[in-house]
């Protein structure tokens, strides 16, 4: 049965794929961070949708919402650290293009 929840799950997966695309393909450091955020949002949507689906009654499962709120907070921490790195990198190189950050041997 193709229930309503599946639309949310498919949307979540598309969001995740967009996020992965942003992280892997994009060369602008800010865009990589945006990719991380989109990927996180996709996972959050997945959690919320499944929280509705797994509940046997009409009540939405609180566990999913709790972990999503927690994950938003953690995501903010990660984004802060990432942007801090980008600011520092910009001070050293004058660019946020990750192709220029080539002094490491990849």
């Amino acid at each position: 049965m193709f229930s309503e929840v599946n639309w949310y799950l498919i949307t979540a997966m598309i969001l995740c794929l967009i996020g992965v695309y942003g992280m892997v393909i994009k060369r602008n450091a800010i865009r990589i961070v945006i990719g991380i955020e989109i990927l996180t949002s996709g996972i959050h949507l997945n959690f919320i949708a499944l929280g509705v689906a797994v509940s046997p009654t009409q009540i939405v499962d609180v566990l999913a919402q709790t972990i999503v709120i927690l994950s938003i907070v953690i995501g903010a921490c990660v984004a802060t650290v990432a942007l801090m790195f980008i600011i520092q990198a910009y001070r050293h190189y004058g660019t946020i293009d990750v192709r220029r950050l080539r002094r490491l041997r990849w």
């Binding site: 995740c16 996020g19 992965v20 992280m23 450091a29 990589i32 991380i36 990927l39 996180t40 996709g42 996972i43 997945n46 959690f47 499944l50 929280g51 689906a53 797994v54 509940s55 499962d61 609180v62 566990l63 999913a64 709790t66 972990i67 927690l70 994950s71 953690i74 921490c77 990660v78 650290v81 990432a82 790195f85 980008i86 520092q88 990198a89 050293h92 190189y93 990750v98 950050l101 002094r103 490491l104 041997r105 990849w106």
Partner: protein, 506 residues
Amino acid sequence: MEIPIVLQPILTLLAAAILVPVISFIGKALKSEKIREIFAVSGFIVAFYKVFILYEAVMSTPGHVIKYDLSGYGPPFGVVFTVDLLSVFMAFLFCGLGTMAAIFSVRYMEEDSGLDKYYALLCTMVAGMVGVVFAGDFFNFFVFWETMCISSYVLVAFRTGRWEPIEAGFKYLVMSTFGTLLVLYAMSLLYGLTGTLNFAYMAQAISSTSAASPVLYFILGLMIVGFGVSASIAPFHTWLPDAHPAAPSPISALLSGVVIKAGVYALCRISFLIFPLIHFHWGILIGIISVLTMTVGNILALWQNDVKRLLAYSSIAQIGYILVGVAAGTQLGLTGTIFHIFNHALMKGAAFLCAGAFIYRAETRMLHELSGIGRRMPISTITLSIALFGLIGMPPLNGFISKLILFTSAFLSPGMVWLAVAGVVNSAISAAYYLRFIVVLIRHEPAGKIAMFKEAPITMLAPICVMAAFIILFGIWPQPILDFAQEAAASLLRPEAYISAVRGGL
């Protein structure tokens, strides 16, 4: 109110992290030097002692599993800590190596500014790792995992004045976050299938469904890749050789010694508890990954001229050896895995700290510029040689015993003989770069400014010498650690005890 025994090690470290800036402020007012460092080190020692108390409590419990509900709610929904012998073993390792790294940092980091943040982050990183091994559900696990990861990103890039830590830190952040998010996605799918985030209830729900469906394989794959990024298994290892050398040496020792082991722990815990080997047959996959990881690590390490980079590549190779036992999936193999986790933490920790001692004096990481330094810093060089001989697997040292167990277990498992052969061949390759390292250090009479160098200060030598002594001691007398590792492996292979402890004997 009495603090529960399970939370005590974590809370000790977190309290130390919060109090370090306060103590430092008081220390500045009183003009007493080093009070902050003494406080941080004593925090680690107290945490180690708390883990020891917890160990005795676990041993006195029937079934050797302690469960603690953090909130008033029961296990399917509430936050649960579950501690078994494997958790305690890992926690011992984290707190022990944390203590050594903190003692080493006292002199190594004294020239840096912002040391309040450094010691606070060191404490939160170890607290996060201890939390990861104590967590009984994904909720808890995820929070502590990210605590550990975020602290280590910042610690890798602690010296923001140079380009290398920034770049390495950014690369580490992007790759490790990607891995964590894959795990989170897998968690959400598992939650959708089982309706819970608790490990034990999840395992119960999955084992009650009869067939291994494609969705479960997809989830298992996401988990292996996600934790594999943190554990630096082969196709996802590229962050490690940049991040570990760029960090300050005590942090490199912790990252290589224990942080990647947290990834291995998570992989073992999830795969043995939720995806039993007999249903899901992931042994062969882990075997292939293991051979790939050790080969890539060893071959690339041959090329390196940077001391810390060489040790970082050797860490990748050692993760390959550790996975051999997981691939075998037997009692013997897991004993070897856990024993090698312990040994590698000791050996690689000692090796990175010795490299740190050279870097502290010579201010270079290039091997050819360190030529002959061994004649001026004999104690560091001897301990480094002990650690490197241990990593090769020379007989009187502890690395030999764990490697012997690992390769024997692969040899005894049906269809896994190639794994043992690959491991032995790789050990032979690895001898080449370890021996070259030692030879360069001692062969020539030192020239130039190296001739004037003195031995490293005593607070650096003390942790190194203690670790070298342990390497020799547990090589000659491995029985206590071996017994502990055996029981920890048994607790990993007995998910029923774990599940029934959480579910309350159902």
